[in-house]
Symmetry: D2
Subunit: 315 residues, 4 copies
């Protein structure tokens, strides 16, 4: 059985990812995001036996954006139960871009899933109605293992000023009764969620908990319920990479969630958590460097959940 040097593989993966950066671009619909250097690329790994690896711009902070949708889903599932949450949002791929109106006018009563914008706004509405933003932020800090995590106020204000498409879908859900709460309050909560500043080490910590069945690696403390984690990781496989989720499941084969800020959180079951930052994104909204890093790591470290190739590797 082969012994892999993860640190070395990680450096190659970074180089491989870098080659694809020029095919992507930073998100421009939020002015603050457009200011980021598109050539940044960083990655962190935390294995479920507690080792930690970094490469590239892993210390760079960036806004969590849609990766927050997995944490708000965890929050909502654990505070309201799955039955109530899934009475407000579906469990299926939408087949449409993440920022689409999701056929809410013509076909769907509820948003397709909690990972497209409309669905995440619906979940944010549930939380905002009963909890303070600080309660949610406490969960982010706990899962990322860093108490100093805060909002980037510039990002927040930029999102709030320019988020007209999100307002449109929120009012559409208000109209149909999916959203019970005040639209502007809900959107403020949602934009705050998206504006949380993290780095790849934070994401890798969170990812290692996902990979370790909800249990924090270093402490052995369960932070996410077993039933919750099954739901969240399954949805990450089917809907986590926007309308590129199907191809990513083929290429990398692990639950992952991306954000338009360039972050990706990915969980290799029973093996490791991976955090990525690469602000050049592809047409679907996924970090293009990060996507290729994950494909590379999946192949080299045997992380694909439906391939036996290398899956007995010791590293």
């Amino acid at each position: 059985m082969e012994i892999k040097n993860i640190a070395e593989v990680l450096n190659y993966a970074l180089e491989y990812g870098r080659k694809h950066i020029n095919k992507g671009n930073v998100a421009t619909y939020i002015p603050e995001l457009a200011k980021v250097d598109k050539n940044l690329l960083g990655v962190s790994i935390v294995t479920i036996d507690g080792r930690r690896y970094h490469a590239g711009d892993w210390q760079q902070e960036f806004s969590i954006q849609s990766i927050s949708k997995t944490i708000s889903l965890i929050f909502a599932l654990e505070h309201f139960g799955s039955e109530y949450v899934f009475s407000k949002v579906g469990m299926e791929s939408s087949g449409d871009p993440f920022n689409s109106l999701d056929k809410l006018e013509t076909k769907n009563k509820y948003p397709s899933n909690p990972f497209i914008n409309a669905g995440a706004i619906a979940v944010a509405g549930l939380i905002a109605d009963k909890y303070e933003f600080e309660d949610y932020l406490a969960l982010v800090r706990s899962l990322c293992g860093r108490d100093s995590i805060e909002i980037d106020e510039n990002i927040y204000m930029s999102e709030n000023e320019t988020g007209m498409l999100n307002r449109s879908m929120a009012y559409l859900m208000k109209n149909s009764g999916v959203l019970d709460t005040d639209v502007e309050e809900t959107l403020k909560f949602y934009f705050r969620m998206c504006s949380v500043k993290i780095n790849t080490n934070d994401l890798a910590n969170y990812a290692s908990i996902l990979a370790n069945d909800g249990v924090e690696v270093k402490s052995g403390i369960r932070l996410i319920d077993k039933y919750t984690i099954k739901i969240v990781k399954s949805l990450m496989v089917t809907c986590g990479m926007y309308d590129g989720s199907g191809e990513f499941a083929i290429r990398a084969g692990m639950p992952a969630k991306s954000g338009v800020g360039g972050g990706i959180v990915a969980s290799a079951e029973n093996k490791m958590g991976i955090g990525i930052f690469g602000p050049a994104i592809d047409a679907q909204g996924n970090s293009i460097g990060g996507y290729h890093i994950l494909e590379y790591l999946s192949n080299e470290l045997g992380l694909h959940c439906f391939s036996r190739e290398l899956s007995n590797v010791v590293y």
Copy 2:
């Protein structure tokens, strides 16, 4: 570590599945399917160490329907390569019913994926252009481990006579150039694919090969290429259960593909293959008894790919 008696669990699973039959109905859009007794329910298991279990109406033959889409995809991938196949069909959930026109008119140049009707017709066109139906049938027989597998001519004629929606989408793809081949020849090939008669034992054999990384359990012979199997199982997770794939991934957590004839093939990675027959189907087109059997088996035997619960069970 717990020792499970699979035979006993299987009987309980069957009973659990039966309770849900009354919420479904046999497919009626093909007259021949409407004649089937909706109360039938059967299941077979083949473990990757070669044990075999059956319960209920496992000897009953039925038409394979959309489960054939996984085998035609395997055929196409192995004969034409993934690059060519995926130049004709996508890898993403459509977010629409299996028999929809899949936004082929308004949005998509190519069908969303090979498991909705439009995509499977596109793949059938590729095969029909270069191979005989007997070539395809040989692969079905090989994967199911039974040389006597044949078409049900009544089903075939019934599909061919009534398949107007499939004709509509085939002509739409002919119009846009996705389909190069003769529409009626392609449809005949497709309807024949759907009309193959199998039983749950056949499906469990096929499923055990999927669970065993493409290698036939009893012979140790590789029947499906490693790269092909990764693609097919990943797509089964994201798109295999029609527009109910997301919820099934949460509830059962294994690659599966259903057919409106009531069959389901499901692969529990490294553990077992499962074949189901239950012609009462739900609104998404999935066997309602079979769906619940799989959820039950997943929970009791620890088959969910993203849950550590019971995953170290010995059975």
Copy 3:
């Protein structure tokens, strides 16, 4: 040549209209509208030689709702010119309900026409950006020939509180840049436009100006430009009765515009203006009693623009 007694025909028309009231219902999406008595029905006629006829509940005041869209279009055309106005809104039927998002997300950059909600909001944005509401109200008063016309504040507040679907489409247009102005300011202007209280005599006055090529009947003063009137009446034929415009053109054959408050303004070219009030509306949002009154009058008085039947009647 036949001599018709208009007063008598009008009474028969009212009776005919009344028979259809039970097939409609008052609009319920604005709470204030839901309080109106659905059995009310009134009609006024002003001929272009200045005669005036009334029947039924013609003195009853009601909110003008979408009929205002014709007056705001006149205002915009005369203040900004047709080129600028039609750079922000189209001239075609949408094929969708009046309160649809009008494919603004998926297909159209601009709203299909100025008579569906999205289009009227876009036009309201143009006006609100440069003029006071009083300027617009002055035109309403002038065209209806009554200086005491005011807003119904309860209707306005009800619309403003509940108009979430209109908000959704306004933010969608804000997002795409169709709407340059502040969304809430624009919506306030739009809801005020819809909340103007009028009666059928007011509408008949306005309609008589439309029928008289833009010239006020009693004074001989031109109130609407020749080019403007051609545009507005043509659009009333193709889009004035929501997604029932095609059938209405067949049945009644005259430019008309309805509102969900139950009003209809209709112009029989060179003959007469007709104002209707009947709050029971059909599935398309048109006064069901009013629709039948207009069909009856068209047949009896020879008002259909593409039928020579009775068109030489003297009345």
Copy 4:
């Protein structure tokens, strides 16, 4: 009152139309149509007092294409009655291109109107089920006043071979039960209808009957029922120029119907019939030269049905 010299106005109109040809192109989806010289442009007028004017390439024959949809509607209305016909097809603008699937899958049970392809195929199915093509052709000959009118066999074969989109929509209607008849038989009838060869004089004859309330100008014989003509002309106004009908109603203000072969038939109520040929078509499928000729004639001869400008002209 002004006296106009129609012959002179017609020549200016032709020159005006010619200037716009370069902005259009011949239809290319039917190979035979792509062979036509795009610079051809001709026009004929027949007044309701029997005068006849021509300009340009008026003797050139071309395929009638969608103009046939008005004649098949007349045929169907007179043989089956409006109630039956409109139980199979709607009366509203679709808001979509003429060759769209017209939301038949997702929204509409029946095609929106008889002038988009789907609707015309539905009407052709009604006729093909009970009558021979010769019966229909006899009506074309009668309305155009020329017994030698025939099909262009090359056009017919070209349409039949390449009409995959029409096949797609026909099978969609077969699937939903809108079409009762054999799809291929119906399409043959429809393609034959489209392939009839005419010139602008033929169209002007037909148009003069429309303008004259259904009565042939020279003989005084009624060829179209009064009720039928009201329906057909009203639909021509709301849906006759495809998804450019609204703008055309504003600019030219008369019932008209175009075909992708470059023909337009237009009826100026009580005044004249106009036939056009100009194979360069715009994005909506309307002859671009013809469109401008009609706008010019409408302005110069006072033909707009909602403008009093020049409407008392003597010519």
